[in-house]
Amino acid sequence: MIELLGSALMQRALLAALLVGATAPIIGTYLVQRRLALLGDGIGHIALTGVAAGWLAGALAGLATPEALALPGAVAVAVLGAVGIEWVRAKGRITGDVAMAILFYGGIAGGVLLIKIAGGTSASLMTYLFGSIATVSVSDLLWTTALAGLVLTVSFGLRGPLFAVSHDEEFAKASGLPVQLFASVLAALAALTVTVSMRVVGLLLVSALMIVPVAIAQTITKSFSSTMAIASAIGAAVSVVGLSITYWHDLPPGATIVVLAIGLYAAGSLFQRFRRQPTPNTDPHPDLDDDVTVRDTTTPFQEPPP
């Protein structure tokens, strides 16, 4: 264990995993409530186009390492794409799932196409698809910390309106809240989370870290706020534990973290099945008077005397 914490590389990786694991489910809770659980995945796909576009821009600018612009490219394209989805959805021209499907396919195709033009190969995209936490640099860690700070500040500072927009959009509109603005803020936060987390779990799996901890938490919680808090704790725990496992065993970190989370979800669901016995025959509403008097059917019916 001391050996694990002794390596500077592993320290950075663990810290990055902890931050991403704790923040991603916070955004994920809003997304699930808003029925946009797959938005993170859609953003992940379009971020690939952003990575390739950044790469292309770097190559065109004649940079020694064209890859340097991959992360800024991913952030810019993902934020634009996510806010674009919200905008298209609000216009009502297309349903959310069709908009996301188009984003999925367009994102992958655009990424593969642009990376070829930029002089790279599809293999160049692999580190972004599946993450490369083992090579987290100091600047990566700073970016991740800044993002975590931003996500936490906005999602707690605006938790009232973000909850209202996610829970009941029509009521939020009728309250005069600028729904489109808050929906765009949420989409942009999701895009930032995805792109900055891609170093940890990779673009294909970052969405899982946003959604699966929420799915685990909601089986045991009773409120929105506790779901968010517990999901964040679960996300942090599976990220750190998953990453630690890969220190001793040669396994891909992103996949290990996600499989661990899904395993936890399966175990939690099974546990719920056994725990949740139907309650015995009690009045579920002791505070309410019975509105209709029903004949007691347990005592045998007596024929009235003729």
Binding site: T29, V32, Q33, R34, R35, L158, R159, G160, P161, F163, A164, H167, D168, E169, E170, F171, A172, K173, A174, S175, G176, L177, P178, V214, A215, Q218, T221, K222, S223, F224, S225, T227, D287, D289, D291
Partner: protein, 271 residues
């Protein structure tokens, strides 16, 4: 805790003396189909207006257009004397939709839903837990404040939605079929509450199918048919059959009079 109904209107409702709400020549087109055709009506402070009409006559559409939820193709709506928009004091407008949005699986307590009722264009902070419980208390749901709404029946969810509108103590309240799916005693509670509110100067627009429980409380009825106002005036009798000769008016009217006398219900004590 009893609320002494003030004789005069509260200060914030008093500074504007014209109609609290005005719809002028409102037209709405949804998916290429015209739903409303030039609907015009006013609502005065303290007035309870029933919006009646068959299914598809445009009642809910009118309410949603009045709140800016759906866009209008023509006409204007104004609240408190100014057109609905950025200048509107949204904190004074309350809304009870027909039903709770379908569950997404994330548990959400009644308290959390009601606290969100305090949000408006000018206020991004939710109401306090104490305020939410006071509003739930009015609808007899305070003891279920920490229960997830997903575990509640449709009628209980409806009561939570009403509490969410009450928490902001609106001066203009829209209710879209608030009585659907709720039992008689809850309807009585709602009628009592609306009565307290209108006496405090709140204007109420309520979409109804069955006016009977609200009889005596409704000052005016607006009847929509195919998106046009066909009647704006005294409320029609509860059911056409009641007016027919030979109909024996046998059932006792538990009566708004009695409801009104019984008012010990408080919606205040949140200050």
């Amino acid at each position: 805790m009893a609320l002494a109904v003030p004789d005069s209107q509260p200060a914030k409702a008093r500074d504007f003396l014209g109609p609290v709400f005005r719809a002028e020549e409102v037209g709405v087109v949804l998916s290429g189909q015209q739903i409303l055709f030039g609907v015009t009506f006013d609502v005065d402070p303290g007035e309870v207006v029933a919006l009646l009409g068959a299914n598809g006559s445009g009642k809910s559409t009118m309410v949603r257009a009045a709140l800016g939820v759906i866009p209008m193709s023509s006409g204007t709506v104004s609240a408190f004397g100014s057109p609905l928009g950025v200048g509107t004091d949204w904190s004074r407008i309350g809304y009870v939709p027909q039903r709770m949005p379908a569950s997404t699986g994330i548990p959400t307590t009644a308290c959390e839903v009601v606290r969100a009722g305090m949000l408006s264009a000018g206020r991004l902070r939710t109401g306090s837990r104490r305020q939410a419980i006071a509003a739930l208390e009015v609808m007899g749901m305070a003891d279920r404040a920490s229960q997830p709404v997903q575990q509640m029946s449709g009628g209980q969810q409806q009561r939570v939605l009403i509490a969410r509108a009450l928490i902001r103590e609106p001066d203009l309240l829209f209710l879209d079929e608030p009585t659907s799916g709720i039992d008689l005693s809850t309807v009585e509670t709602l009628v009592d509450t609306i009565d307290v509110m209108r006496r405090a100067g709140t204007a109420v627009v309520v979409v109804l199918h069955e006016t009977e429980p609200f009889e005596g409380l409704i000052d005016r009825a607006i009847v929509l048919r195919h998106g046009r106002v066909v009647h704006d005036g005294p409320p029609p009798p509860a059911r056409a059959a009641h007016a027919l000769p030979g109909h024996v008016h046998g059932h006792p009217h538990a009566g708004p009079r009695r409801w009104r006398d019984r008012l010990g219900l408080a919606i205040g004590d949140q200050e």
